[in-house]
């Protein structure tokens, strides 16, 4: 059967590679195994092995989740220019952006699962969903919906390529048209998750969702720029410089908006000096001698501002050295700002005024590292099979037809 042969081909593709490829997968496997050990310990002993407590009841897991929803949503920054504006250089790589969205959503779901006190009864969500009242149910729906949308898009494009055909826009259009607002919805709903809690003034700001979207459009694309460069070095994927520079330009705008929104929030808190200032004060200067997050906050500020300056200048951002530095800076900056820098101050001080200094425990760090390693592992394998299929080198068709098809294959035209 062709399908079985094809699956065997895919498997062969995954299991062949140079030394670096196997070392890479091996390292990731070690990190994942280590995380598995941590997770088993957590299952046995309960979440007490984390440093979360009643005062700070969400920590590193939910911080990572929040950040990664942004990475997933950022696929839209490739989808819009490629399908709506038919910008060819990006159109050639939009598939890899969608694959990153799939990976990021899977990681999000893993982080949520890691955070549950009773993961085994998570199926209760589907028996008595508190819908539409609980925003968490909305999040379950939009995240899984987004996962399905992107999986379908990726699958359909690869399926067509494996059959030596162009994908049909008749089928892609609905997927694309739904996935654009849907990408915004996942991050908006995640913002509303926090936003809707009047008990936490730090989160209860109407600017939260726009800030989330703006920062997502920085960190996700920054990660893509870095990953695409690595990918084109180690594989025969073609990523046009023009695509990378266009993404960099978009980051510059997004970062401008992000910093503006952040500045607005900082102004409101510090100028009005209401009692709601406390979490912001804790973040920037420390509260009553508690200064745990202060260095992180300033590192994030410096990273974001420096990154922004580089992205603003076309001369700088079009040189790979500076571009890559800026991408790393923005990634770190947003990771801190939207992860720990957003989730933790919501809990500090807690609703009765107590300050509990939270930093993740070893278990939380190792388990989170494992989920990131899973993401890298999964994405690597996806690329490994997607590139040859996309290029027409791996298909359902017989061997002798492949050579002629390889030259024929071009990105979609309508």
């Amino acid at each position: 059967m062709t399908l079985l042969q094809f699956i065997r081909d895919l498997f062969k593709e995954i299991t062949k590679g140079n030394k670096a490829y196997f070392i890479w997968l091996g390292l990731l496997s070690i990190v994942m195994l280590n995380a598995l050990v941590s997770y088993i310990m957590q299952l046995n002993n309960g979440l007490i092995v984390t440093h979360m407590r009643d005062q700070v009841s969400w920590g590193f897991y939910i911080s990572n989740f929040t950040f990664l929803v942004g990475v997933a949503a950022a696929a839209v920054i490739l989808v819009i220019p490629s399908y709506i504006y038919h910008f060819k250089p990006i159109k050639e790589i939009v598939l890899f952006g969608e694959m990153m969205a799939v990976t990021a959503v899977l990681m999000c779901l893993m982080f949520i699962t890691a955070d549950l006190g009773k993961p085994l009864v998570a199926w209760h969500l589907f028996i008595t969903p508190n819908f539409p009242r609980s925003i968490l149910m909305w999040d379950v729906i939009v995240l899984n919906g987004y996962l399905i949308l992107n999986t379908l898009a990726v699958f359909y494009v690869l399926f067509s390529a494996a059959h030596g055909r162009e994908y049909k826009m008749v089928i892609m259009w609905p997927l694309v048209l739904i996935s654009i607002p849907w990408a915004f919805s996942i991050h908006t709903v995640t913002a509303f998750l926090y936003n809707g809690l009047s008990s936490r003034p730090f989160w209860n700001a109407s600017i939260t969702a726009p800030r989330f979207i703006a920062s997502a459009m920085c960190s996700g694309p920054a990660l893509m720029i870095l990953v695409f460069q690595v990918a084109r070095k180690v594989s025969d994927i073609v990523v046009n410089d023009k695509a990378i520079f266009k993404i960099a330009e978009l980051i510059a705008y997004a970062m401008g908006i992000n910093l503006f929104l952040y500045a607005s929030e900082i102004f409101k808190e510090f100028y009005s000096q209401s009692i709601h200032l406390a979490p912001m004060e804790y973040l920037f200067f420390g509260l009553k001698g508690h200064t745990l997050l202060v260095p992180f906050t300033w590192v994030a500020m410096v990273c974001n501002l420096t990154g922004f300056v580089i992205f603003m200048s076309p001369k700088l951002r079009n040189r790979f050295l500076f571009l890559n530095i800026a991408c790393v800076l923005v990634f770190i900056g947003v990771y801190i700002e939207k992860g720990m820098g957003f989730v933790i101050p919501g809990f500090v001080p807690d609703t009765l005024g107590e300050i509990y200094d939270y930093l993740p425990s070893y278990i939380e760090l190792s388990l989170s590292a494992g989920i990131w390693a899973f993401g890298a592992f999964f994405y690597t394998l996806l690329l490994k099979i997607a590139i040859p299929i996309y290029k027409g080198e791996l298909s359902f068709l017989s061997h002798n037809m492949r050579h002629s098809l390889r030259d024929l294959h071009k990105p979609a035209v309508h």
């Binding site: 088993i40 310990m41 309960g46 009841s57 998570a122 508190n130 609980s134 809690l197 009692i275 005024g353």
Partner: protein, 297 residues
């Protein structure tokens, strides 16, 4: 937790997840597939209670009664706390722990008593408070106290956010949790403005000789790891007929705590709401607590 124990832990972990324990094979599956409390009929409730009582008997070698008393008709519970009397002795805290079978290690307490220095900002700015005070005698000079616990809100934010409806407001106004239905996402804890919800971060432990054997399914029955719990106005006491006071009310040495039926115009709670200077905590959030602070002096 060190790595040395890993193999043991791993074996237990995988075993605990995949296989039911040797001695109680049926009950593990029964508890896993246990229905949502509000969807159980009387027969199902009875079966679950019987299973739970058996499990507790095996675990604690003691008969623990699990009641499922429904709300009393025409009752809406309200609580009053006299700030001019409270001396900050925290007997209520410990009476509550004992009555409600809270875990001793890790420690869980439903009531937090905040200590303020005289002249300090309070009510809206609780950051000035101290909950870890330890004087020789109470009240400490020039200090005053404000106990906080679940306010049994009329519009509870915790219930609104729960993704599985594992927590809800009963007709008598008590916000309860089906511990078996809770998935431990802790969204309710983020939503609660009063820090009233507590999570079982580790396996809850109670010394066997200190267990209160009179329990309610939605209240003080022994809890499980990974679920959220909270004050229920001692549901196991107040739903008796005639009802008893919650343990904190009963134990308070200065009579600062009042409790009653808000629908009964003759009740103590109604009289004090109508005649004293009353306020509710964080009223601006519109959670409409049924917990009234007042000044009798």
């Amino acid at each position: 937790m060190n790595r040395r124990n890993f193999l043991k832990t791993a074996a237990l972990g995988v075993g605990g997840i995949l296989l039911p324990a040797k001695d109680s094979p049926a009950s593990v599956w029964e508890s896993f597939f246990q229905k949502y409390y509000r969807e159980m009929n009387d027969k199902e409730k009875k079966d679950v209670v019987a299973r739970l009582e058996k499990e507790y008997e095996e675990k604690y070698k003691k008969h623990i009664k699990v009641k499922t008393n429904a709300p009393l008709p025409k009752v809406l519970y309200g609580y009053g706390l006299d700030l001019s009397r409270c001396v900050g002795c925290r007997r209520c805290v410990y009476a509550c722990v004992t009555e409600n079978n809270q875990s001793r290690n890790p420690q869980i307490q439903y009531i937090t008593v905040l200590q303020f220095e005289q002249g300090e900002k309070w009510v809206s700015d609780l950051e000035e408070s101290n909950k870890y005070y330890n004087p020789e005698t109470v009240p400490a000079p020039e200090h005053f106290y404000m106990p906080v616990q679940c306010q049994q809100c009329e519009k509870p934010p915790c219930v609104k956010v729960c993704p599985t409806q594992a927590t809800w407001k009963e007709p008598d106004g008590i916000v309860v949790v089906d511990y078996n239905w809770c998935i431990g996402c802790r969204y309710c804890m983020a939503a609660c403005p009063y820090n009233a919800r507590k999570f079982n971060w580790g396996e809850p432990t109670i010394p066997v000789d200190e267990i209160n054997t009179e329990t309610h399914y939605l209240g003080n029955r022994p809890r499980i790891k990974g679920a959220v719990e909270k004050c229920t106005f001692c549901i196991q006491r107040v739903r008796e007929n005639p009802g008893r006071y919650p343990a904190c009310v009963e134990v308070c040495p200065v009579g600062a705590r009042k409790f009653g039926n808000l629908l009964d115009p003759e009740s103590e709670i109604r009289v004090l709401i109508e005649t004293k200077r009353v306020f509710r905590l964080k009223e601006e959030l519109n959670t409409q607590p049924k917990f009234y602070y007042f000044f009798s002096l």
